[in-house]
């Protein structure tokens, strides 16, 4: 059974999607990781992507961040083509400058944080605002401190990443991305590389963001109870396709496809939500 219902569940409010994937495929050599995906993300919408490892979840985000190039199809950001330029009504491949112009509204938090090890925490958060957005140093510092405060890392501004725990580094990485004020934020398995005891602090920061912000969020995660709590919509990826999507209540309680039922069996509901069964 292959159920892909796109229209039924989205809270569109008459708004245009900020992100539109159309017919997107991606192959690495002979291996096709994404198969003709159509996917929309609306302004302020929070979508959690779940699914088995290797199902193409991460690649979906990496294409949008311009870290990988799609093999076929188009992606639009706010009505503009990301990977193509329109020249005389025709779509031609984008150059570096075009990517630079279009991807400014998108931010990303990585599984392995990828903080800059040679810069202090503060500098990690001010480098891009100064160099890319052209903010005066003072304003960039103010913005950075505001965001570091939001993630509870204001007391570490003068430290270097190597002195922080994984959870702390990830919170800084979230602040670093927020300083750029993206309209869409991608979280690529933000807690998968963390020690179990620091997962909670990072999830709490993301939950706070989800509550207050009007920023659209794409959350790739294996934390089912977190996805259920935060997301407006859940997309279940399997074998390079969106096999099933809908509001969390529907996805977790009445999964339609066998694959999703199988997948969810690996997690069981306890008092606090879902927990992975090893």
């Amino acid at each position: 059974m292959d159920v892909t219902e796109t229209d039924e569940t989205q809270q569109t409010d008459g708004k245009e999607p900020i992100i539109k994937y159309r017919n997107i495929s991606k192959s690495f050599g002979d291996h096709q990781v994404l198969k003709e995906i159509d996917f929309d993300l609306y302004p302020g919408e929070r979508v959690a992507i779940i699914g088995p490892s290797g199902s193409g979840k991460t690649t979906l985000a990496r294409l949008l961040m311009t870290l990988e190039k799609p093999s076929a199809g188009t992606i639009q950001v706010d009505g503009r083509h990301l990977w193509h330029r329109e020249v005389k009504g025709k779509l031609v491949p984008a150059n570096e400058r075009h990517l630079h112009e279009v991807r400014g509204d998108i931010g990303m938090v990585f599984q392995h944080f990828n903080l800059f090890p040679h810069m202090t925490i503060l500098r990690n958060c001010t480098e891009a605002p100064v160099k890319v957005l052209g903010l005066p140093k003072k304003e960039a510092v103010e913005r950075a401190k505001e965001m570091l405060d939001k993630v509870g890392m204001l007391d570490k501004v003068d430290q270097y990443p190597a002195n922080l725990s994984g959870g702390q580094q990830q919170r800084v990485a979230i602040a670093r991305a927020l300083v750029m004020r993206p309209k869409v934020m991608l979280f690529d398995e933000p807690t998968s590389a963390l020690d179990p005891e620091t997962v909670g602090e990072v999830l709490n920061v993301i939950k706070d963001l989800a509550r207050q912000g009007d920023m659209a969020m794409l959350l790739i995660t294996h934390e089912m109870s977190f996805a259920r709590e935060v997301a407006d919509r859940i997309c279940f990826f399997d074998d390079g396709k969106i096999l099933e999507q809908g509001p969390p209540s529907q996805i977790f309680t009445q999964p339609k496809t066998e694959r999703l039922q199988e997948f969810l069996k690996r997690f069981h509901l306890n008092g606090n939500g879902f927990q992975e069964v090893q």
Partner: protein, 200 residues
């Protein structure tokens, strides 16, 4: 002192050449990569002494005569610049891909990523190798005495002819090279400490 002059001038030139060569090896354009690769492999793969002889004795037969000082500097700079290019190239490649990706996610341009993220980290990796290379360069300068440049080695060898006392005089030469070399070692250690911010 001629040896120190040679060391400084050829050192600076080979440093500059290292970066030009290293970046050329990583160029987006295949032609630039091939040409720079060929030049670098040629100078790495042939003897410095033979290169100096060639520049000094063979090149004039082709109609280009360079003064001996220039031959020394050019020979040293090309040779050690080629080694240095590999240091630059490999250090840049040693920076994890996640660093570049973080730069892209912050919408930095390739030039901004190189300046703010990659080079500062790569430079730290380069330093010990460059320290090594500069000591090699110092020792390489002794070879220029063979194309009649009156560096420290040539002076001592001449002194030996007139004064004698081989053991003492040649020992003095060894000690003199060691003093310059050790001073450079200390200098590079200091640089390494300065650039070690953020390391635990």
């Amino acid at each position: 002192m001629v040896t120190v002059q040679l060391l400084v001038i050829a050192g600076i030139l080979s440093f500059v050449m290292s970066f030009i060569g290293g970046f050329a090896r990583l160029s987006r354009f295949a032609l630039v990569r091939w040409v720079s690769g060929g030049i670098i492999e040629f100078f790495r793969g042939t003897s410095l002494l033979v290169q100096l002889f060639w520049l000094y004795y063979a090149l004039p037969l082709l109609g280009v005569s360079l003064p001996s000082g220039l031959v020394g500097i050019v020979g040293l700079a090309l040779n050690y610049g080629s080694y240095g290019s590999e240091i630059v190239r490999s250090s840049i490649l040693a920076i994890p891909k996640g660093q570049t990706e973080a730069g892209i996610a912050l919408n930095m341009t390739p030039a901004q990523r190189m300046r703010s993220i990659i080079l500062p980290q790569a430079f730290r990796i380069m330093l010990p190798s460059f320290g090594n290379l500069m000591i090699e360069l110092l020792k390489g300068t002794a070879l220029v005495s063979l194309v009649t440049i009156s560096d420290m080695t040539l002076n001592i060898m001449q002194m030996r002819n007139t004064v004698g006392h081989d053991t003492q005089i040649l020992s003095l030469l060894l000690v003199a090279y060691f003093i310059i070399g050790y001073a450079m070692t200390l200098g590079f250690r200091w640089l390494e400490r300065r650039f070690s911010a953020g390391r635990v």
